[in-house]
Symmetry: C2
Subunit: 253 residues, 2 copies
Amino acid sequence: MTGTLVIAGLGPGPAVWIVPEATAAIEAATDLVGYRPYLDRIPERPGQRRHASGNRVEIARAREALTIAAQGRRVAVVSGGDPGVFAMAAAVFEAIETGEPSWRDLDITVVPGISAMQAAAARLGAPLGHDFCAISLSDNLKPWQVVERRLRAAVDGDFVIAVYNPASKARPDAIHLAFALLRGRKAPATPVAFARSVGRSDERIVLTTLEDADPSVADMSTLILIGSSETRLIARPGRTPWLLTPRSYGGGQ
Amino acid sequence: MTGTLVIAGLGPGPAVWIVPEATAAIEAATDLVGYRPYLDRIPERPGQRRHASGNRVEIARAREALTIAAQGRRVAVVSGGDPGVFAMAAAVFEAIETGEPSWRDLDITVVPGISAMQAAAARLGAPLGHDFCAISLSDNLKPWQVVERRLRAAVDGDFVIAVYNPASKARPDAIHLAFALLRGRKAPATPVAFARSVGRSDERIVLTTLEDADPSVADMSTLILIGSSETRLIARPGRTPWLLTPRSYGGGQ
């Protein structure tokens, strides 16, 4: 079987944040497979086939990509962010796990990319400068108790918390429940940032505190960062403060 | 004050994983500041000054960069990985916090990059496909009790765990203590990967289990991934299995 499949990420949006390996894989592909808005960001190339799909059909999309690759073609699955972080890589390997045995012989490459928490962190300063965790609220395949358990653990460990996919249609109250849990366990002055569409024309960043945060500003394009007990602001005259989680812990220098 | 400072990451090593914004910032800089081995990866440019430094002097390096930028120059601080993740961004903002008030007027940009856990995940399959945390063992500014607290919390939350900087000279037993803690709390068959220098000529990946892992294979170029209870292998005939943490939890499909 000579087909190849590359899972490549477009990062959060702008071309300047796409790694060259992803660009090259997309250019070299005979077939592009992806969520339609991601494919729409890629210039058309003569002879290159496009297989666009809607949202929330990740496994079907992965199966389609594997089927095409198994026909001997060079397929690029186009993902947002880093395909490895809450994105298409897991869907492809899940599809392989339950799919055609021959798919396991395919030559499959995952190309890493910039994930939303990294873009948000870059804009804000250095909020991920120390230990952190990433939790997705979107997945309606995950029992709510698991989300609660992870949020509690993230507080117990005093991690900086990156919340992905805060506004699921299947679970619209999730972000409000999550904030209620966090407010009962963390200091009211804990810095919180809502970073929407970072790097795109509709970028919007709200820097606030756990006490004052309005979780309803978060949509599916928003990444939320919640500080640890060490995360703090650095004031700047006339500009938004920087957000810093220092490398030391407990006041050590 | 017209000086600018860009904090740009080279990713884990290969040029194909450096985002174009970082490449452009490095090319446009009048002055490059960084740990010597990172600067050595960058082609020399006529007229561009280099300020190389040794390891473990991050704050001094950050102060030097800020001092040069405050003289009106275009400075690029060159970091490994993603500058925002256990790298130079936090050091620069810490230096600003305690440094010259005028440094807060500087135009400072953080450019996100590919961090070691992402490169490791890409090589292995999709181990970061669901909730995860990142913990650094290197920092001798962090009390060991904080590391233990975070490892316990990571187990309680059943996160996939990415361990950065596992082999600190200041704390050589750290990785052994960490594995002892994890072995007392997680299933012996939990997948564990040691991913060393991913993307470079000396890349070496060891895929094993918590029970069989030999923590002494980890050096400062190694990123360790420890699975959640859902992380599993996908066998391939004649090749290393893929590692998958599925998007669903608790057997849901």
